[in-house]
Symmetry: C2
């Protein structure tokens, strides 16, 4: 009998652990988008989650567990310039734990301010994946703080699984769920939870061009380069090329091997459609999920009547919306 | 004993009449905006209403009543390039009634397409208030269709009153409600309904610069020029300077005489704050209400703890968001 490192009981425990600090986000619907899609779509509104993204779920579960396991914890540290950084800072603030966030030099001030607004301390590193990991490790060593990885952490994965718990609680008979994927924590958590609750519901990854997740899933091997690289995509929060070591086997077991690959233009189309028809501010990664649900899922599962779409985050630079091209002066 | 042309029973009847064709919109809250405002704000999300604005309420009530009173109705006609046009077209479509919308020449194609998507027929006129009224009247005469005015119509006013019915049902102990105001239909409907249900709750108008509503309310006189003029404001849906003849006496009786005047920059600030913190796409008129609730109400009613804000619409040109200034090339 095989056992998974993240079980449904871990996800249920996470839901109880984080419930008083996070929103049960609404599930939105839109008649006019359903008409375009030719099926019913159910949008899990994680852009309305605390800190503006689903990352608050995994971060709260991991940080709260750190404190449960280690009541004298010296705090937490992570590396991220994006949604996970705010999420860990928020989670630490909830418990009054010290928190350091390693951010690459050149991170926009607005992002640094958001992280600091939750009381975290910033440490700057060079803007490479390797420098981020090394700087984070040395902060952890010097301060005794525990590293909270953004996706490759079973507690984070269990926390992200609570999205599926809530979504399937509200719409139990979904035929499919599409999940924008970067490090794979949300995909792993949602896949394992869905499989245990509603095994007929297929979970699909949505990826930017260049990630090549489908080839890895088919080979059941992490074929990505080491050290990892970043993708060139409009979706800030989907730049990691590789899915993590802990998330990958879970994904191989529970996620459909068919992956939806979405170009920048397609993500932007999904994003703008959501602004226009649903009046919701979402980031490009969420737009990738919308595009896949509206335009692509029919190729793979034409009979899917009810499809869940995770609007994973809404942290977007409003001064630089990707469809607004400022006229360059020469 | 004085009697008002729009009574609470008319608003309750409107609510029953329109309920199956419209949304009971959610009431949104935001911890971080509450902190900025120094009080609790309750946002009535009319930007999520059918057709993207509250106008669908009044239009449905008026058009459905036209059909009740006149089962052989030849249809309806209105003049508007904005939210009311879509609203009347939608209402007529619900009943399969013919509908003509008079729009000024030069109306953006996207707006014309939205109106036509509900099956209405377009007639173009010159872009002046006088030409709109005259063209509408002659279409009515030629076709026998009934004119549905955007605000100066008791059935429309009763329909807009249902916003307050729902808002006070959800948050009965509001201290104040702020209402972005153009022709005054929503302000009249919300004011009379609020006064009858929760007389302690103050209703305030929010206006663009140049409307001078407060002076008129204090004088209890419509001091505006005739024929009416348009204001130069970033808020498309608040361009009418004058409040209508039917709405004005209701407003004089039930609305607080203190009016909040908001500049374009302030509306845009309220709009961007709502995009950023609440992830909601709203139009500039809604932003005016947000600004008044966050920044201005304290001057007038400092002890107001709970304030309702009507996010009246979300129909905004996403390619021309007012805070995104394209760099002009010379």
């Amino acid at each position: 009998m095989s056992s998974t490192p993240v079980e449904l009981r871990d996800v249920r425990a996470a839901a109880l652990r984080i419930q008083h600090f996070l929103h049960t986000t609404p599930v939105l619907t839109s008649h006019s988008v359903d008409v375009l899609a030719g099926r019913q779509l159910f949008f899990k509104a994680e852009h309305l989650q605390k800190t503006g993204s689903f990352k608050a779920r995994g971060a709260c579960n991991a940080v709260f567990l750190e404190k449960e396991r280690n009541p004298d914890s010296a705090g937490v540290v992570t590396h991220s310039s994006g949604n996970h950084a705010q999420a860990v800072a928020y989670a630490a603030m909830c418990l009054g734990l010290p928190c350091t966030v390693v951010v690459p030099k050149g991170t926009p001030k607005v992002k640094c301010d958001a992280i600091c607004s939750y009381g975290a301390e910033l440490v700057f590193c060079n803007p490479t994946p390797v420098s981020r990991v090394k700087t984070c490790a040395s902060v952890a060593e010097e301060t005794g703080r525990t590293i909270i990885h953004s996706s490759d952490n079973y507690d984070v994965i269990a926390g992200q699984g609570t999205i599926a718990l809530e979504l399937l609680n509200e719409v139990p008979d979904l035929d499919a769920i599409v999940v924008p994927t970067s490090g794979g924590g949300m995909l792993a958590g949602v896949s394992v939870t869905t499989q245990k609750i509603q095994p007929k519901c297929q979970v699909y990854a949505v990826e930017p061009v260049g990630k090549n997740l489908q080839r890895c899933l088919e080979a059941k091997q992490r074929l990505w380069s080491d050290p990892p690289t970043f993708l060139n995509t409009v979706a800030d929060s989907m730049r990691l090329q590789a899915v993590g070591h802990l998330a990958f086997p879970i994904i191989c077991e529970y996620t459909n091997t068919r992956v939806f690959t979405v170009t920048d233009d397609q993500m932007i189309e999904g994003m703008k459609l959501t602004f226009e028809r649903m009046k919701q501010v979402i980031e490009a990664a969420s737009g990738a999920g919308v595009y896949a649900a509206v335009k692509l899922i029919g190729e793979v599962q034409p009979k899917a009547r009810k499809v869940g779409v995770i609007l994973c985050g809404g942290n977007v630079d409003l001064d630089k919306l990707p469809w607004v091209m400022p006229i360059t002066s020469y």
